[in-house]
């Protein structure tokens, strides 16, 4: 009995082991099968669509193939082709894409829209100059209340319709009519007049820098008015048009077409060979070796992004852990590009709640913050100590508005204000939960203010809660927070965006210092109207306004963020493809893809 059982057991065991071995063999077999044919398929390029050769002056060294599985438009034009493979650039984005409607989009989709759509003008803020987009020239008259734009004649939408003044008018009018997202940038516009096919005139209610507005990163895209037809809608403001866009269709005129729209995972853009910019000699926003395909891949974790760019699975990482940037700079596999961004972090002070209603107390706090240390600790040095609320590199920024870190001075000021032994109340500082940079900044501020006898409680809150509490401060400043840490970034590039939103007495949503100063309000209102006509004078007024803020300390600007992008070495021109006026965008059309 015993003997037979052992025999039986080993027999079963044999079968079980055999099954396992078979599974392992199958797995290994599958793995090797997977290894071999994979690279072969990438080189053979069995392009599914037939494509006919056609001359393309710009793409001489790198011929393009357009297989166009586009759901959007079946491009009737011939596409350039040659045996060879398409060049591909994968850009990892930390956040998923949002909507695809060029009129209302005011969030993450900014990342690809400038590749598919074009505005009238582009703005290069670091050199303070415009780059022509759909408009080749423009002028303002009547003290900046009438603006005329002359459109280029060779621009064509992806559906083949030419870009005309009528299309521009209808695009902007739809954006205004829907009134969502960044539509408010067009507030100054009274009405728009089509002069002829390629000339358009804007009549404004009050003087404004319409060139900067037309170059906005949100709400200034021009699209084909035929979307009404495609969507089967009654008119442009019909919700069906928005649905059509959000189903993954594009109606732009830009260098890339939207071919795959999977906003949670990936967005794929394919080169538009008919774009006018490829043919324009010396156009700064075009490169002969721009990638044929540009993929936006959603990778929601910075550690993973770093690993993927090192392994070459993605080509450009939007975010890597800042702690690793120094190491990556020395890694031969990748390049690190650091550019200023116009996003800054500020601490708004509740100017209506004692003892912070006393300007001396606010000044004491301003001098008790170790700005350099915060930049080192919170951002690993990847930020600039702020000088005024306007970020570095932007027109309207001045370099002499940083508060000196001086604890003796801070203590003196506090004593003068009547608090020689510090403040006997604990101040509440709120920041957005989950933001590690805000958290570290808040911790340094807490530690530092303790040195002059000010106790701070730091409280992380969801942005919605934090903001809601702060907004209630206009009605009841006693119940609101004392200190409020938050980011600001401009919708379009003007100092007014920062100064008005955070400090004007009219701005009840974002002036969360509850600061009211009629003199300041007057200065910035005057400056913004002068921006179009007398920039030197506007600049002087903006300086005076910032000087007032410096003395009154309704808020303490902490740091201006530096953007860090890490890319594989084979991608050239990355530096030129990043423009702080268009945050998170990689202008793929200027990239040089080598090899």
């Amino acid at each position: 009995m015993r003997r037979t059982s052992v025999k039986g057991l080993s027999k079963t065991a044999g079968i079980v082991i055999a099954v396992i071995i078979i599974i392992i063999i199958v797995a290994i077999g599958a793995y090797y099968a997977a290894q071999k044919p994979a690279p072969a398929t990438t080189t053979t390029s069995p392009s599914p669509t037939t494509s006919s050769p056609s001359p393309s002056p710009t793409t001489t060294s790198s011929p393009t193939t357009t297989s166009s599985p586009s759901p959007t438009t079946s491009s009737p034009s011939p596409t350039t082709t040659a045996p060879g493979k398409k060049t591909l650039v994968i850009y990892a984005s930390l956040s998923e894409m949002t909507s695809a409607d060029p009129s209302t989009e005011f969030s993450n989709s900014i990342l690809w829209m400038p590749l598919v759509y074009e505005p009238l003008l582009w703005y290069d803020p670091l050199q303070d100059k415009f780059i022509p987009g759909l408009a080749v020239s423009w002028e303002s008259s009547n003290n900046g209340t009438v603006w005329t734009f002359h459109l280029r004649k060779n621009a064509v939408f992806h559906d083949g319709t030419p870009v005309t003044a009528e299309a521009v008018k209808e695009s902007i009018e739809r954006t205004i009519a829907l009134g969502q997202g960044a539509a408010f940038i067009w507030d100054p516009v009274d009405h728009i007049e089509v002069v002829d096919n390629y000339t358009i005139k804007f009549y404004l209610k009050y003087p404004a820098a319409l060139d900067k507005i037309a170059a906005s990163s949100y709400g200034a895209w021009i699209f084909s008015p035929k979307v009404v037809e495609y969507a089967g809608a009654k008119n442009l403001t019909d919700p069906k048009v928005a649905d059509w866009f959000n189903a993954g269709h594009d109606a732009g005129s830009g260098p890339y077409k939207l071919v795959k729209w999977d906003p949670e995972n990936e967005v794929i853009l394919e080169k538009n060979p008919d774009w006018w910019g490829w043919k324009e000699p010396n156009y700064p926003l075009a490169s002969p070796n721009a990638p044929d395909v540009f993929v936006v891949k959603i990778v929601k974790d910075s550690v993973t992004q770093e690993r993927l760019v090192l392994s070459g699975d993605i080509h450009i990482a939007e975010y890597v852990p800042l702690e690793d940037v120094d190491n990556l700079k020395h890694n031969p596999k990748v390049q690190v590009v650091i550019k200023p961004s116009f996003q800054n972090l500020l601490m708004l002070i509740n100017t209506k709640k004692p003892p912070l209603d006393n300007v001396l107390v606010r000044r004491a706090i301003a001098h008790a913050i170790p700005y350099e240390d915060i930049v080192k600790i919170a951002r690993n040095g990847l930020a600039q100590v702020a000088s005024g609320p306007i970020p570095h590199g932007m027109w309207g920024h001045f370099d002499n508005l940083t508060y000196e870190y001086n604890l003796t001075l801070a203590k003196q000021l506090l004593a003068q204000a009547g608090f020689p032994n510090g403040i006997n109340r604990t101040l509440l500082l709120t920041y957005t939960a989950g933001d590690i940079y805000e958290k570290r900044t808040a911790e340094v501020i807490k530690a530092s203010l303790a040195k002059i006898g000010i106790n701070v409680e730091i409280r992380p809150m969801s942005w919605e809660e934090q903001w809601s509490l702060a907004k209630s401060g206009w009605e009841n400043p006693e119940a609101a927070q004392d200190l409020f840490i938050f980011y600001w970034w401009p919708t379009y590039i003007t100092p007014f965006d920062f100064l008005y939103n955070m400090f004007s007495s009219e701005s009840k949503l974002f002036n969360l210092c509850y600061y009211e100063n009629p003199q300041f309000d007057k200065l910035i209102e005057k400056a913004v109207t002068l921006e179009a006509t007398d920039r030197a004078k506007a600049l002087r007024l903006y300086y005076q306004a910032q000087k007032i803020l410096y003395d009154d300390v309704p808020a303490i600007p902490l740091w201006d963020m530096l953007d860090v992008r890490v890319a594989v070495k084979s991608i050239g021109n990355l530096d030129k493809a990043i423009n702080p006026a268009y945050p998170t965008v990689i202008f793929a059309q200027v990239l040089e893809v080598k090899g």
Partner: protein, 340 residues
């Protein structure tokens, strides 16, 4: 067929009750806690009018039961609301994320069952030998090591160091573009086979190996341990001994009687852990950039995206109920004493 139609109908009614119960409870919870959805909906730098418009669009000015009625009305016609975070319809988001997760979890379960049950049985048969010890160590580790740690280690070793398997994504974009692959059902492995697109199939198989193995560890450990425990018990039952005593071949006794009796409870527990793994997979999905439902639900939770949260919870509720039903049916098929 040991399953009556009456039983299926009863379970389906139960499904509806459960789903609506879950729906109403989560809806009320999400509306009662203060979260200011209108601010999330209105975007980053809205104007006062846009915020007011958002309140109206989301029916936030109405009492909560009216809001619930609006939601239920839309829910029934397949409009699960729009994600406050991504502005995409929740139902289509979930449906597009679901196949990726199901593909991953199913593959992981196939691996887990194919290895776990035979090895568990082997351990029971070779009780207290070195074979048993080795299997025990592996399966206990599998069931207890945190999955995110395992995922990172596997990625580091097999992808970064050895470079033999891809450590992220479902399929390479390049192959999809080159071959003009268009998904039909969303299950890439299945679709590529249906289309005869071998390049994509191989590439996708290549990509699923690491995440599926990592995800398989827990159900593998579970099934191996359960199989061993129950099999040991069954082998000690009087009927097994009498069968052997009657001179039935050992093979027949083990496979026909012992293993079959072991399988029923093992499958029941595995079935339940399948539902759990759907959401539990989010760590693996995050690390391997796998575009699935776990990641979607996790992101929705982190950003107070209530329509997406409710959608995900309802989906999981449906899954649990359906899988429970399937497990019961399988149980009835395996065990003739069970009548449903």
């Amino acid at each position: 067929m040991p399953v009556s139609r009456e039983y299926i109908v009863k379970r389906l009614i139960l499904l509806v009750v459960v789903v609506f119960g879950v729906l109403i409870i989560t809806f009320i919870i999400t509306r009662v806690i203060p979260a200011h959805p209108e601010l999330l909906w209105a975007g980053a730098h809205p104007t006062e009018e846009q915020i007011e418009k958002a309140r109206e669009q989301l029916h936030l000015n109405d009492p909560i039961y009216i809001q619930l009625l609006y939601y239920l009305r839309d829910f029934l016609v397949g409009d699960w609301g729009v994600s406050w975070r991504t502005r995409q319809p929740v139902l289509s988001d979930i449906l597009s994320a679901l196949p990726a997760t199901l593909e991953l979890v199913t593959t992981a379960f196939i691996i887990a069952i194919a290895l776990g049950i035979p090895l568990g049985a082997l351990a029971a048969l070779k009780r207290n030998t070195w074979v048993d010890h080795v299997i025990r160590i592996v399966s206990v580790l599998g069931a207890s090591v945190p999955v995110f740690w395992l995922a990172l280690i596997f990625q580091l070793v097999f992808s970064s160091w050895l470079g033999i398997l891809p450590g992220a994504k479902r399929v390479d974009e390049f192959i999809v573009l080159e071959t003009g692959f268009k998904p039909i059902t969303g299950f890439i492995l299945l679709d590529s086979l249906l289309e005869g697109n071998f390049a994509v199939f191989v590439n996708a198989l290549h990509h699923i190996i690491l995440p599926a193995i990592v995800l398989a560890f827990y159900p593998f450990g579970l099934s191996a341990r359960m199989t061993r425990a129950i099999m040991t018990e069954v082998l000690n039952e009087l009927y097994t001994r009498s069968a052997l005593a009657w001179g039935l071949p050992r093979r027949v006794v083990i496979y026909k009687y012992a293993l079959k009796n072991t399988l029923a409870p093992v499958i029941a527990s595995l079935g339940l852990s399948f539902g759990y793994t759907i959401i539990g997979a989010f760590m693996v999905e995050l690390i391997f950039v796998w575009p699935g439902i776990g990641l979607y639900a996790a992101m929705a939770l982190l950003s107070y995206d209530y329509p997406a949260i409710i959608g995900s919870i309802v989906l999981v509720a449906i899954f649990y109920t359906v899988i429970n039903m399937i497990v019961d049916i399988i149980h009835a098929i395996i065990d003739p004493r069970v009548k449903l």
